[in-house]
C-alpha cells in the first residue's frame, strides 16, 4: 500500500452504524479523491483487531447493547487509543461522544467505563432530544454554522481538558448550551444528518488535520443548497 494513501477507518459499522453515519467516511473519502488526494475506507468489523495505523477514525451511533459491545471490543483491541497517541484524527458521533469519555451512565443507572479519550462523562437525560440542531462553532474552529439532526437521550458534561465543538442556537446538544467536544484531534458530536455531508467545512478541517495541508474549497451546488434549506428550516 502506498504511504501517501489516507486511510479512513470505519470503526465497527456493524455495531455503530444505526444512523447513516457511514456517510461521514464516504464524504471524507470523496472530498479527498476529488482533490487528487488518495484515500480509502477501511471497515473494521466486530471481532477484528483494530489497527493503529489509520489516519482518520470514524465512529458512528448505535443502540445501547451494540454500544456496550463496541466499547468492550475497542478496550480489548486498543488500536484506536494507540493511534490517538500518534496524532490520528478521530470523529465520534452520538455513541462516539459517550464511549470516548471517562464513563457513561445509562437510564438504568448502570455506569460503564468509557475509553478515556476525552475529558467527559455522559448520563441519561430525562427526555430524548430529537430534532434539527444549529450551533455556532467554538473558537472559530471552522466557518459557518454547524447543522445536524439529533436523536439521543444522553447528556454530556465536559471536563477542563475538553472544549465544546460549538455553542447551541437551536436544539439540545450536550446539555442545551454546548454541543460536542474537541480534544486534540478528536472531534465528537451528537449530530447526525450525517454530520459531514451537512457540514463540509468540518469535513475539510478533519482532512487538513490528517493531510497536514490546506485544501481548496469544493464547489458542490447540492451541498450548498441543502445546507441553506436545513438552516432555514431550523431557524
Amino acid at each position: 500500500m502506498s504511504e501517501s494513501t489516507i486511510q479512513i477507518a470505519l470503526v465497527l459499522p456493524d455495531l455503530l452504524g444505526t444512523y447513516g453515519d457511514f456517510g461521514n467516511a464516504v464524504v471524507l473519502e470523496k472530498r479527498m479523491t476529488w482533490r487528487g488526494i488518495k484515500a480509502e475506507i477501511v471497515p473494521i468489523n466486530y471481532g477484528e483487531p483494530v489497527p493503529d495505523s489509520c489516519d482518520i477514525y470514524v465512529v458512528g451511533g448505535g443502540e445501547d447493547t451494540a454500544q456496550t459491545l463496541a466499547v468492550k471490543h475497542l478496550r480489548e483491541h486498543p488500536g484506536l487509543q494507540r493511534a490517538v497517541t500518534k496524532n490520528a484524527v478521530v470523529l465520534g458521533v452520538c455513541a462516539g461522544i459517550q464511549i470516548f469519555g471517562e464513563s457513561f451512565t445509562r437510564a438504568d443507572n448502570v455506569t460503564h467505563p468509557g475509553m478515556g479519550l476525552i475529558d467527559s462523562t455522559s448520563h441519561a437525560g430525562g427526555s430524548r432530544a430529537i430534532g434539527e440542531v444549529l450551533a455556532e462553532p467554538a473558537d472559530g474552529l471552522f466557518e459557518g454554522v454547524l447543522s445536524g439532526f439529533e436523536n439521543h437521550q444522553g447528556r454530556t458534561v465536559l471536563g477542563p481538558a475538553a472544549r465544546p465543538l460549538a455553542h447551541v442556537k437551536v436544539g439540545t446538544g450536550n446539555d442545551g448550551s454546548v454541543e460536542g467536544a474537541v480534544q486534540g484531534r478528536i472531534v465528537c458530536t451528537y449530530l447526525h444528518g450525517p454530520v459531514l455531508p451537512r457540514n463540509p467545512q468540518l469535513a475539510d478541517l478533519l482532512i487538513e488535520w490528517a493531510t497536514g495541508t490546506k485544501v481548496a474549497p469544493l464547489d458542490l451546488p447540492a451541498v450548498t443548497a441543502m445546507r441553506a434549506e436545513r438552516v432555514r428550516a431550523a431557524s
Binding site: D21, F22, Y46, A66, E132, P194, L220, A225
Partner: protein
C-alpha cells in the same frame, strides 16, 4: 349464524354509527379517504371499541417494518376463501384505522388487520388474535418509531403473553426470531430475505450473532435460527408437508415472494387450504397504488414505495433488471420520519450510469447523497414534472411514504 360476530353493546353500536357517519362525511367533503376519522370518532366515544368489534371474529394481525400492506392484502384475499373479511386496506394501520375497517363490515366473521409495530401491543391485547404475523424488523423512522431493539422488546413481551395465538415468524430475521422465541405456538417461515445490519449483536444478551450461510446463532445464548416449517424457494415455496408450490405472483421482487409465503402460512393457520390461499393471493397486483403503472405523455411510470434502508435496498434490486430512468422522491414529514440520515444506508451507488432525477420535498438532501454516490442527476422537486422530463418510454418511480401517497393521489386525479 354462530360464525357471526357478537352483538355490540349499545355504546359501541352508537360509537360505530357515528364513526361511520364521520368517515362518509370526510369522504364526501373531500377531506380524506375516510380510513381513520371514523375510527377516531368511535374510539373517543367508546375506548373499548376495538375489543368489542373483534369479539366473535377470527382475527389475524400483521406487523413488521416492511411489506405489511402487501402481506395484509394477500392474507385477506386468502382468508376470503372462508368467508367475508374485514380489513384495513390503505395503510391506516393504527387502532382508529382498525375500528373504521371493522365498523364498515360489522358482520364479517374474519378480520385481517395491518398493524403499525408501535401499536402492536395495544392492538393484539384488544383483539385477541388467532394469528399474528411478524414479517421483519429493521431500522425505520428512528426519530418517530424508535430503535429496532425497543420495538423487538415490546413485540416479544406481547407475543409471549398472547393466549391461543399462532405466531407466524420470519426465522431469517434475527430480531423477529427473538421476538417470537418464547411464544407458546410459533410457525417459522424461511423467507430468504433479511436486513442484517441491525442484528450484529444479539437482542437478548448483546453477544455477537454468527452467520454461516443461511444459518445463524448467537455466540452468547441459545438464540439460533429455528428449523423452518415453510420455506421460500426460487419463485416457489415448500410447505410443512414438503410439497413444492409455484408462486407465480403478479407482484415483482424477492420480498413479495417472502410476503406471499408468510401470508400462505398465516392463511393455513386461519384454516385456508394452501392451494386455495396461493391461487387467491397470486392475483394481488396493485397494493394501494403500489406497483401500478401510470401513463403520462408517452411515459409509462411504474410507482414503487420504499420507506427505509431495507425497503430501498430491495427496490433497487427490483429496478436493476432493466436500465430504465429513475425518479427518486423523498419527503421527510412526520409520517416519514424527519431525519434523513438513513439515505446514507441506501446503496444508491447501484444507480451509477443511469438517468436519475432527484425529486420530492427533500430533493436536495437526496441530491447530496447522489453526488457523493457519483450518480449523475438533476433536481426536479415536483415528481410528476420529473416524470415528464424523462425520455419517453418506461420510467421507474420510487418514493417514500408521504411522497408516494401524494404522488399516487395526484396521478389518480389526472387519470
Amino acid at each position: 349464524m354462530n360464525d357471526s360476530p357478537a352483538r355490540l353493546p349499545l355504546r359501541t353500536a352508537a360509537a360505530v354509527k357515528l364513526g361511520n357517519l364521520s368517515s362518509s362525511l370526510s369522504q364526501k367533503m373531500g377531506l380524506g379517504a375516510g380510513g381513520m376519522i371514523g375510527g377516531r370518532v368511535a374510539l373517543k366515544l367508546d375506548p373499548q371499541a376495538l375489543n368489542r368489534l373483534t369479539q366473535g371474529r377470527k382475527v389475524a394481525v400483521v406487523t413488521g417494518t416492511n411489506g405489511k400492506t402487501t402481506s395484509t392484502m394477500m392474507l385477506a384475499r386468502a382468508v376470503g376463501a372462508l368467508g367475508e373479511v374485514a380489513t384495513n386496506h390503505s395503510g391506516a394501520n393504527m387502532p382508529d384505522g382498525h375500528v373504521t375497517a371493522l365498523s364498515k363490515q360489522p358482520d364479517a366473521p374474519y378480520a385481517v388487520l395491518e398493524c403499525d409495530e408501535g401499536y402492536f401491543p395495544a392492538v393484539a391485547g384488544a383483539s385477541n388474535p388467532a394469528v399474528a404475523v411478524i414479517l421483519n424488523l429493521s431500522r425505520d423512522q428512528l426519530d418517530r418509531v424508535g430503535e429496532v431493539r425497543t420495538i423487538e422488546r415490546s413485540l416479544r413481551d406481547t407475543v409471549t403473553k398472547l393466549q391461543n395465538c399462532t405466531i407466524i415468524a420470519n426465522c431469517d430475521d434475527v430480531m423477529v426470531t427473538s421476538a417470537a422465541w418464547n411464544a407458546s405456538k410459533v410457525i417459522w417461515v424461511a423467507t430468504g430475505t433479511g436486513w442484517h445490519h441491525d442484528s450484529a449483536s444479539c437482542p437478548r444478551c448483546g453477544n455477537p450473532i454468527r452467520w454461516q450461510g443461511e444459518h445463524w446463532h448467537c455466540t452468547g445464548c441459545d438464540l439460533a435460527r429455528p428449523h423452518p416449517n415453510w420455506i421460500t424457494a426460487d419463485e416457489s415455496m415448500i410447505t410443512p408437508e414438503h410439497q413444492k408450490l409455484e408462486l407465480r405472483l403478479t407482484l415483482p421482487g424477492k420480498f413479495n415472494q417472502a410476503n406471499a409465503v408468510m401470508a400462505s402460512a398465516a392463511a393455513h393457520a386461519m384454516g385456508v387450504r394452501t392451494e386455495d390461499a396461493v391461487a387467491r393471493l397470486r392475483g394481488v397486483s396493485n397494493v394501494s397504488g403500489r406497483y401500478r403503472t401510470i401513463q403520462r405523455n408517452g411515459r409509462s411510470a411504474r410507482l414503487l414505495l420504499s420507506k427505509n434502508p431495507a425497503g430501498w435496498s430491495e427496490t433497487l434490486t427490483v429496478v436493476k433488471e432493466a436500465n430504465h430512468p429513475a425518479v427518486l422522491v423523498i419527503n421527510a414529514q412526520e409520517a416519514d420520519g424527519r431525519d434523513l440520515s438513513w439515505l446514507w444506508d441506501v446503496p444508491f451507488e447501484r444507480l451509477q450510469g443511469r438517468t436519475v432525477i432527484a425529486s420530492g420535498e427533500r430533493a436536495t438532501d437526496l441530491a447530496v447523497r447522489l453526488t457523493y454516490a457519483e450518480v449523475q442527476h438533476t433536481i426536479v422537486p415536483d415528481p410528476l414534472k420529473a416524470i415528464d422530463q424523462m425520455p419517453q418510454g418506461a420510467v421507474e418511480v420510487i418514493a417514500n411514504y408521504t411522497a408516494f401517497r401524494d404522488l399516487n393521489a395526484r396521478a389518480a386525479a389526472d387519470e
